[in-house]
């Protein structure tokens, strides 16, 4: 205990260089834990985007592409599926539920997704969460729309507001479906998934706005919103669909059956598997980031070692005095280890404090700009291992100046003449 007191007071005596070393350790710990936190939370957010959906089916493309456009609304489909084919598969006896998805339109930068009311029943995210309405109700009429939380927030839309959808993904005045406005009947609660940034309408609504369009351009034949309503509006094609099975044992068989469908080239993917493989591709990048952060921590620790080594000469006297009053030579080693421990522990605590402060400050900003919701959690076991490893490494490094000082104090004896 007295040794700890000596170590503390001695360190305080050199507080400028010690606190600089501590600060550099704090920054590297912050970086390492920060990268680790963001990577884990991004993965959680990502993996949580869709759950309890057994298969996603679309026109044949790569599994990752299908996942990206159907769930993340990134990129677009290469081809559509005919609605008849969808109904055929949906009626298979293994299929418990199915939800069609029709993409291709947008509203002021937000994707529009046509679907049916089953979407609200079966879509799950973050394991078991279903979509909840913050205000209003699910669409019933052809020209009803339900908007995601971010859409309502960033455009300031109240219930009952009328919106105009645009054809395609780029919003240009020339391709607006201005003659068939939609009324917002529901606003969803925040989900931290791409749904927040989506406008949901019925398949019939999608059908209605395209009824007088051909090959992506408006035909000369104009059909009013009112007239369209009476035209049956049976969808002809959809972009993709999600389905759930009764018994998961039948899943592989069903997937194979869909993939080998004779009349239409289809692709059925298990979202979990594809999410994992997609994450793995990005995981390489994640490893590089972690490696860079680890190197920064190592640099911080070497900085600490340098700080300890430069004090060796000025502390020669101190060690001789301690030896004269009864400190053993190994106490000298312990003093250096204690000092390193002190610096790294102080640095780690400071780093963790900054990390949490930054999370609190950055949480709304990151959620808004990147759709990544950081939940503020305790450090996990892996992060505690990282901290302990840093402490251990610091102690090991401190043995270098410790042993030099030990050797010197043996040589110097009591009578150092400096």
């Amino acid at each position: 205990m007295k040794l700890l007191k000596i170590a503390l007071k001695s360190a305080w005596n050199r507080k400028v260089s010690i606190s600089l070393a501590m600060f550099s350790i704090a920054i590297s710990i912050l970086l390492l834990l920060g990268v680790d936190t963001i990577r884990k939370q991004a993965k959680d957010n990502f993996i949580n985007t869709i759950s309890q959906t057994d298969l996603i089916v679309g026109a044949r493309t790569s599994p990752i592409n299908l996942l990206l456009y159907s769930i993340f609304h990134i990129g677009s489909a290469t081809n559509n599926i005919s609605y008849a084919r969808y109904e055929e598969i949906a009626s298979f006896k293994q299929v418990k539920w199915s939800v069609p998805i029709s993409l291709g339109d947008s509203h002021r930068g937000f994707r529009v997704m046509g679907t049916d009311s089953d979407y609200f029943r079966y879509y799950r995210y973050a394991n078991t969460q279903s979509l909840q309405l913050q205000q209003g109700e699910v669409f019933k009429d052809v020209y009803d729309a339900v908007v995601g939380y971010d859409v309502a927030q960033s455009l300031g839309y109240p219930l009952g507001h009328n919106i105009v959808l645009s054809h395609g993904i780029a919003a240009t005045k020339f391709s607006e479906h201005a003659d068939k406005p939609f009324r917002i009947v529901g606003i969803l609660k925040k989900t931290n998934t791409p749904v927040d940034r989506t406008v949901l309408v019925s398949l019939q609504g999608i059908e209605a706005i395209h009824i007088d369009w051909q090959s992506g351009a408006r035909s000369a034949l104009r059909i009013s919103a009112k007239k369209a309503r009476q035209m049956g509006l049976q969808p002809k094609s959809i972009t993709a669909f999600m389905l759930g099975v009764d018994n998961r044992i039948t899943l592989f068989g069903l997937q194979r059956k869909i993939n080998n469908f004779p009349n239409e080239s289809l692709l059925a993917i298990m979202p979990g598997v594809t999410l994992a493989s997609l994450w793995q591709t990005m995981g390489e990048f994640e490893k590089v980031l972690m490696a860079v952060s680890a190197l920064v921590l190592l640099a911080g620790l070497i900085g600490l070692l340098t700080a300890l080594l430069t004090t060796l000469n000025e502390r020669r006297r101190e060690m001789a005095v301690l030896r004269a009053v009864g400190a053993h030579a190994y106490h000298v080693v312990v003093l250096f280890a204690l000092e390193a421990l002190l610096v790294v522990m102080g640095g780690a605590l400071l780093g963790i404090a900054i990390l949490y402060a930054m999370q609190v400050i950055m949480q709304p900003i990151i959620a808004e700009n990147y759709g990544l919701f950081l939940s503020i959690k305790m450090l996990d076991a892996e992060q505690i291992v990282i901290l302990l490893a840093a402490l251990l490494l610091a102690i090991i490094l401190s043995l270098i100046p410790g042993f030099i000082a030990y050797k010197r104090s043996l040589q110097d004896g009591l009578m150092v003449k400096i």
Partner: protein, 234 residues
């Protein structure tokens, strides 16, 4: 005559990188309660002799007995412990840890030695008493040691050497940084305190003017055969 507290017989010492002995002493005995002054010019092995008596550097041959304990039988950790238990040490200068207060500096040996702690009875009381007797103003007691003048620092070093009543006080030129007036006063304080607790004083210095204050004076050249040997060879 009282019994010897330090006995050296036929010791020879050289540093590992040297091929000649720096110390070769056939016989040296220091008696209980003595004030022994070992004088000699620099480089004659005075400090080396102190390193041998304090068990820091063991001689490669010969016997060193301190307080009936043959030092060569002690392990390095035992000899560190023996040193703090029985010896109070004062350096030429820079005796104190600048970041500790005066009281903490004085109490340092008691942190490492339970024997000194027990002999001090009340460490806190004992350290303030010693500082008071050595005429350190009380307002400085809790100040860091770096705030003191050299003369004050040397007196605090004496207090530290004396606390817990060690049997022997070893001093390596503690007066060389002091002026003549302070030197005399320093020695008076050292002797009176040492006598009070019946400690033996072994004091080395090149300064022969202070020799008159000691009960026994030895010239290192007279006992260190290594110097004479080197002299005759060269």
């Amino acid at each position: 005559m009282t019994k010897p507290v330090i006995q050296l017989s036929n010791i020879r010492f050289r540093y590992s990188e040297q091929d000649q002995d720096v110390l070769d002493i056939a016989d040296l005995q220091v008696y209980q309660g003595e004030h022994l002054f070992i004088q000699g010019a620099s480089g004659r092995g005075k400090t080396t002799l102190l390193n041998i008596i304090t068990g820091i550097n063991p001689p490669y041959t010969g016997q060193v007995q301190v307080l009936d304990t043959p030092l060569q039988t002690l392990s390095s950790i035992q000899s560190d412990q023996f040193r703090v238990d029985h010896l109070g040490i004062i350096f030429q200068q820079f005796n104190l840890l600048p970041y500790l207060s005066l009281l903490e500096n004085v109490q340092l040996p008691c942190w490492f030695s339970s024997k000194r702690r027990t002999q001090a009875v009340d460490v806190e009381q004992s350290s303030t008493d010693l500082l008071t007797q050595l005429r350190i103003p009380e307002r400085l007691f809790n100040k860091p040691a770096s705030a003191l003048s050299v003369g004050q620092q040397q007196r605090v070093a004496v207090a530290r050497a004396l606390i817990g009543k060690p049997a022997i006080i070893i001093a390596d030129e503690p007066t060389s940084a002091l002026d003549t007036d302070n030197r005399k006063r320093f020695l008076d304080l050292l002797f009176s305190q040492a006598d009070k607790q019946n400690s033996t004083v072994v004091f080395v210095s090149h300064d022969q003017y202070i020799a008159q204050h000691f009960s026994r004076v030895i010239d290192i050249s007279d006992i260190n055969q290594a110097i004479n040997h080197t002299a005759t060879v060269s």
